[in-house]
Symmetry: C2
């Protein structure tokens, strides 16, 4: 399923809608986030090279490059999310007849649960980078296209909240309480920061659209 | 560009990120919304046929069917959004040398502006239907997949807010103030209702994930 970026859009939607286990909510959030940050890249591309925006061109070029970097990273994260789910299911199906098998399975399960938690958190971190550059661009990007920076902000924030639900599923099953506290703290800060950046970007966009 | 659902996912993202005028924020919001409601369909598909959920099967079947209907409608709306933009640009380029040409252009422009406002509002209405069924499904869908109803809720609400920015661009240029008041009122109600439904769905999902 890592070839999902090669599927026609209609097929991506159809496979997501089907009862196939992947792509699940984590991958779909990353796919959606890639389209969100594509809007950031578009605003950047519509700003670079325009004489009116020559004074901000270096920053806009940097932001646009970062947007493409984030899109590529999200594509890789979709594969990682699908792989993490596959690994989890593989471990889930391990035999648990003897005490030894049970202990081995539990050990591998704890490892798989951490990976299946780390992956959505990493996707959320990447989406937060998208919000950081989108908020910057909302202030300096081409006014003619600035509503699309708002589109990027709404979509990327939703993708942060959505992808973290995939972490929420696994966290209650993780036994390592130090790890759990650390992840919960990072999750909370990602959600708060994403909301702040979205609101800041949308406020600027609404002001500049007047 | 109406063949966008046939493009590989990577190409959809690349075209959205480019400086090509379409797909813009309205179409991208609808594309993202289609992936959101695909998650609703998935939760439905993972519920139907399971003996444990036999008592809610008729409702879940109806919700799942409605999700597919919404996906198809959003696909059509992407084409409509792209067509509305094309029409607007066509009118924008009309000559305005004589008073007669100016009057004719202004008349057609007002018409094109209304279509370019109606289309995102219609997409938002469709996404609200997605939120209505997602909120219902959050209460009765398979608990094993219920986090994905939350994913659908986050994504579809963001798509409502995002797509309405495309209406916001055009509204200030519309001269018919009765039309403007009506659209602004509907916009406000769509935003409020989408937020309420998202929050309700996410609250149920979080409760059921415990």
């Amino acid at each position: 399923m890592s070839e999902i970026f090669d599927f026609p859009y209609r097929k991506v939607v159809a496979v997501a809608a089907s009862d196939a286990p992947t792509p699940g909510g984590g991958s779909v959030s990353a796919l959606v986030g890639a389209l969100g940050v594509a809007m950031t890249a578009m605003v950047g591309n519509l700003t670079v090279g325009k004489p009116k925006f020559a004074d901000v061109e270096p920053q806009v070029k940097e932001i646009t490059g970062a947007a493409y970097f984030i899109i590529n990273k999200l594509e890789k994260m979709v594969s990682a999310d699908i792989a993490a789910f596959g690994k989890f299911m593989e471990v889930y199906r391990l035999p648990k007849n003897t005490d030894e098998e049970k202990a081995r399975r539990e050990e591998l399960m704890q490892k798989a649960l951490k990976t299946a938690t780390d992956t959505p958190v990493e996707i959320a971190r990447t989406l937060l980078e998208a919000l950081v550059i989108t908020e910057k661009l909302s202030k300096i990007g081409n006014k003619m296209a600035i509503s699309d920076a708002g589109v990027a902000a709404y979509i990327c924030e939703a993708a942060v909240n959505a992808v973290l639900l995939s972490a929420d599923i696994n966290i209650p099953m993780v036994k390592d309480q130090d790890y759990v506290s650390k992840v919960l703290a990072e999750k909370a800060s990602l959600v708060t920061e994403a909301k702040r950046l979205k609101e800041a970007a949308v406020a600027v966009v609404e002001e500049r659209m007047k």
